[in-house]
């Protein structure tokens, strides 16, 4: 049995959960290593050695250390191409290109406004930080325009990159999970017919349900 890969960071982090979803889809055993962000562990010298930007997640297997969740997902999907979900990263160059297009659309168009909303509406209150109403309004407007494009696409295609669930859809799970389950902006997804249908399908996958369970588990007690 292969040594489990290591993922550093709390499962409640959207970027960490993106990697966990991918590892579960690919049947790759992993060990989750806690990083106590409330104590600033991610900004301390020991952690900065493995992730110089002081962000989570970080990843290690027997041959490489990597950071940036979408890079880790691509690496895992390629390295473990022959196990788990073999269609996650496409089975030919054109399929893969379409996945890359929608992965980039997620990273460049979907992520900025949805991340801002997740921070403002789900995390700021927990951290007792003041919400910025201007940012919330602007982000919602931007996200609405992006979701209009998705609504059209998902009326023509079952998943973003084509007929199969891929990394492109997976990459959207973390931010959307927060928006739908703990904020009142979930309607942005559920009230759009095609986006709503797509959200139900992708969030209903076993791999994602397992990630949500990991997010709900109580955090490990620090030493």
């Amino acid at each position: 049995m292969a040594t489990p890969v290591k993922v550093y960071g709390p499962p409640m982090s959207t970027a960490v959960s993106r990697v966990l979803a991918c590892l579960l889809e690919k049947d790759v055993n992993f060990q989750l290593i806690p990083v106590d962000m409330s104590k600033g562990e991610h900004k301390k010298p020991d952690y900065l050695k493995i992730q110089p930007f002081g962000q989570v997640p970080s990843f290690q297997d027997e041959s490489i250390s990597l950071f940036e969740s979408r890079a880790i997902c691509r690496y895992v999907s390629e390295k473990y191409a022959n196990q788990g979900n073999k269609r996650l990263y496409g089975t030919n160059p054109l399929e893969k290109a379409s996945i890359e297009q929608w992965l980039e659309a997620e990273g460049q168009s979907f992520n900025p406004p949805s991340s801002a909303l997740v921070f403002q509406l789900a995390f700021a209150p927990r951290m007792k930080l003041k919400q910025d109403l201007g940012v919330i309004k602007q982000s919602e407007e931007k996200l609405a325009k992006v979701l209009d494009v998705y609504e059209q696409r998902l009326g023509e295609s079952r998943f973003l990159a084509g007929d199969e669930f891929t990394l492109a859809d997976l990459s959207h799970l973390p931010n959307t999970q927060y928006l739908v389950s703990v904020t009142e902006k979930g309607e942005m997804f559920t009230k759009r017919k095609n986006v709503g249908r797509w959200w139900s399908e992708i969030s209903g996958r076993d791999s994602w349900k397992k990630v949500v369970d990991l997010q709900k588990a109580p955090p490990p007690k620090s030493a």
Partner: protein, 216 residues
């Protein structure tokens, strides 16, 4: 059939052009006047529904997002031109890491700087001094991390020029026009890296063919 690249005057499409030149792939270009708002025309939105440049057409095939396009061509033409992806799965992983760093940590700050400092007048919105200040500060922090990395590695992903370095070229070039090239020049290893990658023949050719819309 020759690849068509839309919007060559602008920075994101230039990522694609540099890649195509490095990979020795023939291409044509189609102008898109962003200043006139052509990227929001219904005809353009049929090709790129988010209303941004670039998009490419390769025969019947359409693809958008510059970093998706460069990955596609770098992989499709792996056997010709410059190798931009590394030789092993691990090298490719490191390329992906630094390409994501560019996309997630470098690009947002430099994009805001370029937009507010160089394009606000032409695009008809007020330059936001606070955005400019914060963007420059954030960019400086990212470049400090690059300085450390490039003191140990000739290029971002290792000892080879890759998509990760390439992706930085078009927007970083704008620092000159903004009078902010000191951000690069003040950092010894970043400066050497920039001199190296910006003197590649591919970049010189792209700049010569498609000068940036902001002229001195």
């Amino acid at each position: 059939m020759v690849v068509k690249v839309y919007g060559p005057a602008f920075a994101s499409p230039k990522r694609v052009l540099i890649c195509l030149v490095e990979k020795e792939i023939e291409f044509e270009t189609v102008p898109v006047d962003i200043i006139k708002g052509e990227h929001k025309d219904p005809e353009y939105l049929k090709l790129q529904p988010f209303g941004v440049v670039p998009v490419i057409q390769d025969g019947d095939y359409t693809l958008y997002e510059s970093r998706a396009i460069i990955r596609y061509y770098a992989e499709k033409y792996k056997a010709q031109g410059t190798d931009l992806l590394g030789k092993t799965i691990e090298e490719r992983g490191t390329v992906e890491q630094w390409l994501e760093v560019e996309a997630q940590n470098y690009h947002p700050s430099i994009y805001n700087l370029v937009l507010h400092v160089l394009f606000s007048d032409k695009m008809g919105f007020p330059a936001d001094a606070k955005v400019i200040e914060e963007s420059e500060k954030n960019l400086g922090k990212v470049l400090d991390i690059y300085e450390e990395r490039l003191s140990k590695s000739k290029y971002l992903a290792g000892d080879f020029f890759s998509l990760a370095d390439l992706s930085h070229i078009p927007f970083t070039n704008y620092l000159g026009a903004m009078g902010k090239m000191y951000l690069i020049k003040e950092r010894e290893h970043v400066s050497a890296w920039w001199d190296d990658i910006s003197s590649r023949p591919s970049w010189k050719k792209v700049l010569e063919l498609y000068p940036a819309p902001i002229l001195e």
